[in-house]
């Protein structure tokens, strides 16, 4: 049992920035963020247990013991043909045990955000690419182009910690932020407190035209963008010594051609490096996307969508797409692993659904078996990768409820 008013340091698992400067008070295993000015305080607190939290395994609506839940899972798996594991977010130990489990039983693994991953890695797998990381951006970037508008919701402290950071080794002035897309007045107001802002309301499918028009020798116009604004932007960009482009791939989902947007940005950045310095810094999803893609890549050579067969992991971007597999009835058991977010899981009635999940998880329908598991960084120690892929953090354990870890469960099933 955690003692009352115990102050603990949290390494935050809840988005891909994985901040490690948050302190929490724990009281009866409820935690509360101490810094009231922390924009994430509310978000982090809502992951606390509540009176609907499920702390015991369930078979349908019935509470069962862990051993009987495990037995039921073994029986379900035994009688079926093809099993798919969908990763909705877990730490490195969870991914490692998932790989071990899948390799012993010849299962398929996909991450729920793979489609966004593939949009981003497309540029690495087909063309040239220049990248940077959070601390570089904080200390060196003078101009930052932000594409899409969800980035500040999804990574709430990006502004405070990186783009509008108080201290910077080499930037003595505020950073110039060029916001491209459709940003709300509220967000713009917040950003203006810390950065100089140029807001470019733009249909993101016109990204390529816009970027071309910003080159000094271009006389092209861009639909919906005033000439004076464009020349202002040219001015800012022209003076830049270290320009950073950031985006969140999921922001482009409504665009006609998300891949083209990303490749236009990447090409623009590559070209800028002929004379100056510039780099891309895409922000990855909040469901431990980077942790999954990194560990799968080093273990198997593939970042997602793999199946173990004939002694090795094979990859097929289309055939092992979880949506495709379920829609086409190519799998009959799905194991969902979701330890970070309690958000509603979409389950499908045509398959057997097994969920290893956050105690607050909600579903579109009751799963066949549910086992509550610990939240990495809250209930147990672990490792997670940050959005820029180069930094990984050591998560701590801040409360004392005795939930099994994903690894505990999968190792028992393997």
């Amino acid at each position: 049992m955690a003692s009352q008013n115990d102050n603990k340091n949290l390494v935050c698992p809840f988005c891909s920035l994985h901040c490690d400067d948050v302190s929490v008070t724990t009281d009866n295993n409820q935690y509360k963020v101490n810094e009231s000015n922390n924009v994430c305080a509310k978000k982090i607190d809502t992951y606390n247990l509540n009176n609907k939290s499920m702390l015991l395994p369930k078979k349908g609506a019935k509470v069962v013991s862990l051993s009987s839940a495990l037995e039921d899972i073994r029986n379900i798996i035994k009688g079926h043909n093809e099993t798919l594991i969908i990763n909705h977010g877990v730490d490195l130990s969870g991914v490692r045990s998932m790989l071990n489990f899948a390799s012993q039983k010849n299962y398929i693994i996909d991450h729920i955000n793979s489609k966004f991953l593939y949009q981003n890695i497309g540029v690495v797998q087909r063309t040239g690419y220049m990248a940077t990381s959070l601390t570089e951006a904080k200390n060196r970037a003078d101009v930052v182009m932000v594409f899409g508008n969800q980035i500040f919701d999804k990574s709430p402290r990006l502004l405070e910690k990186v783009l509008g950071a108080k201290n910077s080794l080499y930037m003595k002035k505020k950073k110039e932020l060029i916001l491209i897309g459709d940003f709300s007045e509220n967000i713009i107001k917040e950003i203006k407190k810390k950065c100089n802002v140029t807001n470019v309301k733009l249909d993101l499918d016109l990204t390529n035209d816009f970027l071309n028009a910003t080159s000094l020798d271009s006389s092209e116009a861009v639909k919906g963008l005033k000439k004076s604004k464009l020349s202002n932007i040219k001015n800012i960009i022209n003076k830049s010594k270290y320009l950073v482009a950031i985006w969140l791939a999921s922001d482009f989902i409504k665009a006609k051609n998300p891949k083209k947007i990303i490749s236009s940005i990447s090409k623009y950045i590559v070209d800028r490096n002929i004379l100056s310095r510039a780099a891309c810094m895409p922000i990855s999803g909040s469901l431990a996307d980077a942790t999954s893609s990194q560990a799968l890549t080093w273990t198997t050579g593939f970042s997602s969508r793999i199946k173990h067969s004939e002694g090795t992991f094979k990859h097929d971007r289309n055939a092992f797409d979880s949506k495709h597999l379920i829609d086409n009835n190519n799998v009959d058991v799905v194991i969902h692993i979701s330890t970070i977010s309690p958000d509603k899981l979409k389950l499908n009635k045509n398959v057997k659904n097994i969920v290893l999940g956050h105690p607050n998880t909600t579903f579109t329908m009751a799963p066949d078996i549910f086992i509550p598991v610990g939240i990495p960084g809250i209930d147990y120690e672990g490792i997670m990768f940050r959005t820029d892929n180069v930094v990984s953090v050591a998560l701590k354990s801040i409360r004392g409820i005795k939930l099994p870890t994903t690894q505990n469960i999968l190792d028992k099933l393997a």
């Binding site: 797998q125 904080k138 100056s276 930094v391």
Partner: protein, 552 residues
């Protein structure tokens, strides 16, 4: 349980034993002297037609960390076994599992990742923990990080620098320190595109020479066995042998290790402006006591180059094959660049690179000072080592290949005039005892009482030397038989080798402030504890001794 390897032809260079019929005894994962055996011998393995050597050690191979994983991700087509074009013999950017399998099948039992970015250390160790069989370790990169450069800029004392270096070794769980393009990676972030040994970087106003001086001194003062591991300035540029020699001088006579020296031994003579400077470099290597090197031999074929040297990799991206590449600036710490590349035997430059590497091997007088590497995968995948050994041991084989290269080559290389053939004694030194010695691994690379029972047994009856080295008949790791007649017998997991010289903890206070102000993580989180290595990262550590007490 005691195992006896009976009457093999034993090579144990550390103990001056070469090709002597001898028994080797193993108890509890260690070598044991015959006279110390107290219980009965449980297992006798007849080695009468075998060569018995300590497990091989690779002191420079890129097997873990961010850039390796970028290469894996970028080159997906090279590991997709369901792709009809898949080639199972080429292991371009292998997965951790394949890395372990291929190394152990060749009798390599200990390998070192030479470019471990401190900020990326957790990942590098986590990856390497997932490589089965082998022991491993890493060299932490310094010399381009903004903190170190600001120490130099502020004229900090050597003793403060020593504290920082020792702190980095501990925090990143490393066994050595490497510098890559000293100051150049940092200068590239300020848009500088080249940095010569005595050229000042624009922002910090510091030369590569000063960086090499300070770091070689730090490792010497701290008593770290492995000297500074240096990837010199101007990698791959014609005429770079001048800067290589200047870098050697920068050590002021203290121990220094130059890595993949083949890429640093280029002249700019002749009609193509590209020539071999192997003779000039070898003269230095042979005359200077404290200088060691590994070669970084290239082989013809597809590979991928990966380096912390973002400055040179960005310059090289035009040569990418297939046409894709990536460079990255990393956390005010370092950088990286990944560029796939195909060395072509029809290309004058590539053919000469091949010859230069072999010239250096053959001109080196002392096998204790030169190590067998391909800078995996930069020159070629490590799986080409048996082929490389044959090139060194068989001049007819070597000259047959040389004669097939572009005609002009013979005017630019002395390779065809070098009659030397490496002996088995020399190969056993340069792949076992010498790397163990230069890394300070007292329990590796020898058959002394109490040493780790990492043993490779080759079949003498295999006449083709390449075949013999590619397929040892028995590989023993920590006393366990892991490979027998080409079959994996058991999966085991190795440990991580580190070294932990002492330092004044007050450096952490200053660093902690620096992290809070300028980094995006806390110093606490940056440090990897021994316990974390074991429980979360997945590899127990082994702390090797420093060679003596700290000096300053």
């Amino acid at each position: 349980m005691i195992t006896q390897l009976k009457s093999g032809n034993v090579y144990d260079p550390h103990n001056k034993i070469f090709n002597v019929k001898k028994d080797i005894f193993i108890e509890d994962g260690k070598i044991i002297n015959k006279k110390d055996i107290k219980s009965k011998i449980d297992k006798v393995i007849n080695c009468s037609d075998k060569i018995v050597m300590p497990g091989a050690i690779d002191l420079h191979t890129h097997i873990g960390g961010g850039k390796v994983n970028i290469a894996r991700l970028m080159l997906e087509e090279f590991h997709n076994e369901i792709d009809p074009n898949y080639d199972s013999s080429s292991i371009i950017a292998p997965s951790t599992l394949k890395t372990g399998l291929k190394y152990i099948e060749m009798g390599y039992t200990t390998c070192f990742e030479p470019a471990l970015l401190p900020i990326n250390a957790r990942q590098a160790h986590a990856e390497m923990s997932d490589i089965p069989f082998i022991d491993k370790g890493g060299y932490a990169l310094l010399g381009n990080d903004d903190y170190f450069l600001s120490l130099l800029k502020n004229k900090s004392s050597q003793s403060t620098i020593n504290d920082y270096v020792a702190f980095i070794l501990k925090a990143t769980q490393s066994i050595g320190i490497k510098v890559v393009n000293p100051g150049g990676i940092n200068a590239f972030k300020f848009n500088q595109r080249a940095l010569n040994v005595d050229e000042k970087s624009k922002y910090f106003n510091i030369t590569p020479r000063e960086i090499v001086e300070k770091l070689t001194k730090a490792l010497y003062d701290l008593g770290v066995p492995h000297p500074l591991h240096v990837h010199c300035s101007n990698l791959g540029i014609p005429g770079n042998f001048f800067s290589t020699i200047e870098t050697i001088k920068a050590a002021n006579g203290l121990p220094i290790h130059l890595t993949h020296i083949q890429f640093q031994s280029y002249g700019n003579n002749g009609d193509r402006g590209f020539s071999s400077a192997a003779v000039e470099i070898s003269n230095y290597l042979n005359k200077i006591d404290n200088l060691t090197c590994d070669v970084g031999q290239i082989m013809f074929g597809q590979t991928v180059t990966m380096s912390g040297d973002s400055m040179s990799q960005h310059r090289n991206h035009k040569h990418a094959h297939p046409k894709k590449w990536m460079c990255m600036d990393i956390e005010c710490d370092a950088g990286c660049g990944v560029v796939p590349f195909k060395y072509q035997d029809k290309s004058f430059v590539n053919a000469l690179q091949w010859a230069i590497g072999l010239e250096i091997f053959l001109l080196a007088e002392d096998p204790w000072k030169v190590f067998l590497t391909t800078d995996h995968p930069n020159g070629a995948p490590f799986t080409s080592y048996p082929h490389l050994i044959k090139l060194l041991m068989d001049k007819t084989f070597r000259n047959d290949i040389l004669n097939q290269l572009p005609k002009g080559i013979l005017e630019h290389t002395i390779l065809h005039t070098l009659k030397r053939e490496y002996t088995m004694d020399e190969i056993s030194i340069m792949t076992r005892s010498a790397p163990a010695k230069i890394l300070g691994l007292e329990k590796k690379g020898n058959f002394s009482n109490g040493s780790d029972a990492d043993i490779t047994v080759y079949n003498k009856n295999i006449k083709d030397i390449e075949e013999m080295f590619a397929h040892p008949s028995l590989v023993i790791k920590d006393g366990k038989i892991v490979v027998e007649n080409g079959q994996i017998k058991e999966y085991i997991w190795g440990k991580t080798h580190t070294v932990k010289p002492e330092y004044d903890k007050s450096i952490e206070k200053d660093l902690s402030k620096f992290f809070d102000k300028y980094h995006t993580m806390k110093l606490d989180n940056y440090i990897i504890s021994d316990d974390e290595m074991h429980r979360l990262v997945g590899s127990p550590i082994y702390v090797n001794n420093c060679s003596r007490k700290r000096k300053e």
